[in-house]
């Protein structure tokens, strides 16, 4: 199988940008949640999220907030010789058009949402006119799916380079929706904690460049990591609740291990989806135990610091894994106070060293989707 590399990437979160010290901020146990000012939450039982401060100030007339956020992660990718495929993996970019009334019955808005709005816009901004466009939707695992699909494109020889881009803001649409589902935390997001009570949303954007060996050599760059395995599976259980036995995630993890031709013991650390909801985290711990047995090794979640950035989450987490190789440690699970029994010896509120150069990162989402990636240090 041809080698696939995570060649470069950039991300934006409320805590920091990838370039400006996101990893350091995680090691320093910072988090960035506050009362939402973007829309009225006075009639809702929840009011907290990780919104990027002053993002509105950067907004120009033709862009919405999602595009404004994306403008922060795209500049790094404007000077490449070419990009063969652009994959858009944002989840609810259309919400801003709905919120602005562009689709209401009496709208006279001349710029309503149209399909492929964001993928076309990204291509336009970057100037790679010949790049093929793909839009992927796999709920909160979308950018991770985008990475897996991008890897397929490279291995099959259909693309030499694939840019996966995703952005989701804390929109009124999504916030009210998650509030109605009663899955938001009313206090602090505490992944894998016995007292966890839900997730917190966050603004997030990510761009990840995948490339094959020839492309990497042509550019003469050192990749951030090698992507050696990936797997995708469905729970076939429920549209919003994960299978309690973790069967879909176990299958995705097992496929990724098989593709990377490694054993569970070869994985040095695990970046979990870790939303802080009761059922997601319990399911993940069950799946980890099923695949890794009783082995103690570092497991962590960053959502207690960044919030859940929906479609962008998995891509951001893949970049954090790549950075962990360089730093030799994985970040603490921020928000954690009293770990779940099954997470003892794995999840920690301190940074953790890991003993080899291979990590697994996983995401799951509505619709029963699960995806696992294996990244290797290069």
């Amino acid at each position: 199988m041809a080698n696939v590399y995570l060649l470069d990437g950039d991300a934006e979160t409320a805590l920091s940008s990838f370039e400006d010290g996101l990893f350091s901020a995680l090691l320093a146990k910072k988090r960035q949640f506050g009362k939402i000012c973007r829309f009225d939450t006075s009639k809702l039982p929840f009011d907290s999220a990780a919104c990027i401060e002053f993002l509105n100030d950067e907004q120009n007339e033709s862009d919405n907030l999602t595009q404004t956020l994306m403008r922060r992660v795209l500049p790094k990718f404007t000077q490449l010789p070419t990009i063969n495929t652009i994959i858009w993996a944002g989840v609810k970019g259309n919400a801003e058009f709905i919120e602005n009334g562009a689709w209401s019955g009496d709208s006279t808005c001349s710029f309503p949402y149209l399909p492929r709005h964001y993928s076309l816009w990204v291509r336009d901004q970057l100037g790679y006119e010949d790049a093929k466009l793909i839009e992927v939707q796999a709920a909160c695992a979308s950018s991770t799916f985008g990475i897996a699909i991008g890897a397929d494109l490279i291995v099959s020889g259909r693309s030499r380079s694939v840019l996966i881009v995703a952005a989701d803001i804390v929109s009124r649409f999504s916030f009210i929706g998650f509030s109605a589902l009663n899955v938001l935390s009313s206090s602090v997001c505490r992944p894998f904690d016995v007292d966890r009570d839900g997730l917190l949303l966050g603004d997030g954007a990510v761009a990840v460049l995948l490339a094959g060996e020839d492309y990497v050599k042509d550019l003469g760059l050192t990749p951030l990591a090698q992507l050696s395995g990936w797997g995708i599976a469905n729970d076939a259980n429920h549209i919003t609740a994960p299978a309690r036995d973790g069967r879909g995630l176990i299958s995705a993890m097992t496929q990724a291990l098989r593709k990377a031709n490694v054993k569970p013991r070869d994985i040095g650390a695990f970046c979990a989806h870790g939303t802080g909801t009761i059922y997601n985290d319990a399911m993940e711990l069950t799946a980890i135990e099923a695949v890794f047995g009783d082995r103690h090794f570092p497991v962590f979640s960053v959502k207690g610091a960044l919030g859940h950035t929906l479609g962008a989450a998995g891509g951001i987490e893949a970049l954090i894994c790549a950075k962990a190789f360089a730093e030799g440690v994985v970040p603490p699970t921020i928000g954690l106070k009293c770990p779940e029994l099954k997470s003892h010896g794995r999840v920690s509120f301190e940074k953790q060293e890991f003993d080899n150069k291979r990590m697994m990162t996983c995401n799951s989402g509505f619709g029963g989707v699960n995806v696992a990636l294996i990244l290797e240090d290069v």
């Binding site: 009225d40 939450t41 006075s42 009639k43 809702l44 989840v91 609810k92 259309n94 919400a95 709905i98 919120e99 689709w103 709208s107 309503p112 949402y113 399909p115 492929r116 093929k132 466009l133 793909i134 839009e135 992927v136 939707q137 796999a138 709920a139 799916f145 699909i149 397929d152 099959s156 020889g157 259909r158 009124r172 649409f173 916030f175 009210i176 929706g177 998650f178 509030s179 109605a180 589902l181 009663n182 995708i232 599976a233 469905n234 729970d235 076939a236 259980n237 429920h238 549209i239 919003t240 069967r247 879909g248 299958s251 496929q255 509505f366 619709g367 029963g368 989707v369």
Partner: protein, 243 residues
């Protein structure tokens, strides 16, 4: 490697068609009165009443296509994947959900919010038919569902995947430009299926799938043409009795 199209379904507002049935005039709202679709829902789902139109049409098309291939038993899970193309996704449901967020969002519908993602219909199909393979929405530029067909071809070449569904699903909001609406679902198997019609194809890692003539399958419409669904079904056209 060789792959076989063993089932196909088209669902429109006023008709459906499969390889076995040909065109059948029927309002899409009545599709779940067809015995095998009704039996599936009666057996496992208590959520049918909650489905939005997008989910109902998509689930009906998957049920019809799997029945065409005689793969619609629901008593076990199978490593079958589903890749779905389409441009607007759940947009109509998104608009409906947003209408419930007036009054500060305190009365917003959690059920409608659950259906405001394009891949939820896949989740419902996975639950109904035990599909545990790779499932996601993938839309690409170029011809209809070409990207989804290419990706499905790669999965079919993997040992663990038993079959793949490739579909296209579109329900347009009323303000959208006029366009095609409805659902198309095809079943691709890796082995010949003695119980089903089959169109033989070859996978091609660079181009997705090819006909045996070497012509690239660059859209789902090309396959429908090759399956002669229109020609066959005109001869078989009939009105469905709902008794």
């Amino acid at each position: 490697m060789k792959v076989y199209v063993t089932g196909a379904a088209i669902v429109k507002r006023d008709m459906y068609a499969t390889l076995r049935s040909g065109i059948v005039k029927m309002n899409a709202e009545e599709l779940f009165q067809i015995a095998h679709l009704n039996a599936i829902l009666a057996k496992k789902s208590s959520r049918f009443g909650r489905f939005d139109q997008y989910t109902r049409i998509g689930l009906a098309a998957v049920g019809l296509a799997l029945h065409d291939a005689r793969l619609d038993t629901t008593d076990r899970v199978r490593n079958i994947g589903f890749i779905l193309a389409g441009q607007y996704g759940s947009f109509v449901t998104d608009l409906t959900f947003y209408e419930t967020t007036v009054d500060g969002g305190q009365f917003a519908s959690p059920n409608l919010f659950s259906y405001t993602l394009p891949n939820i219909v896949i989740g419902e199909c996975a639950h109904q038919f035990g599909l545990i393979g790779p499932t996601f929405c993938l839309d690409s530029d170029g011809e209809r569902a070409h990207g989804a067909l290419c990706e499905a071809a790669l999965y079919l070449e993997e040992n663990s995947v038993e079959a793949m569904l490739v579909g296209w699903l579109e329900v347009l909001p009323k303000q959208a430009p006029k366009g095609d609406e409805g659902a198309i679902v095809l079943v691709f198997e890796k082995k010949k299926n003695k119980d089903a019609f089959q169109l033989e194809l070859e996978t091609d890692c660079r181009n997705g799938m090819k006909f045996l003539t070497g012509e690239v399958v660059n859209s789902i419409d090309k396959l429908l043409q090759a399956l002669k669904m229109v020609d066959i079904s005109i001869q078989k056209q009939k009105n469905m009795s709902l008794k």
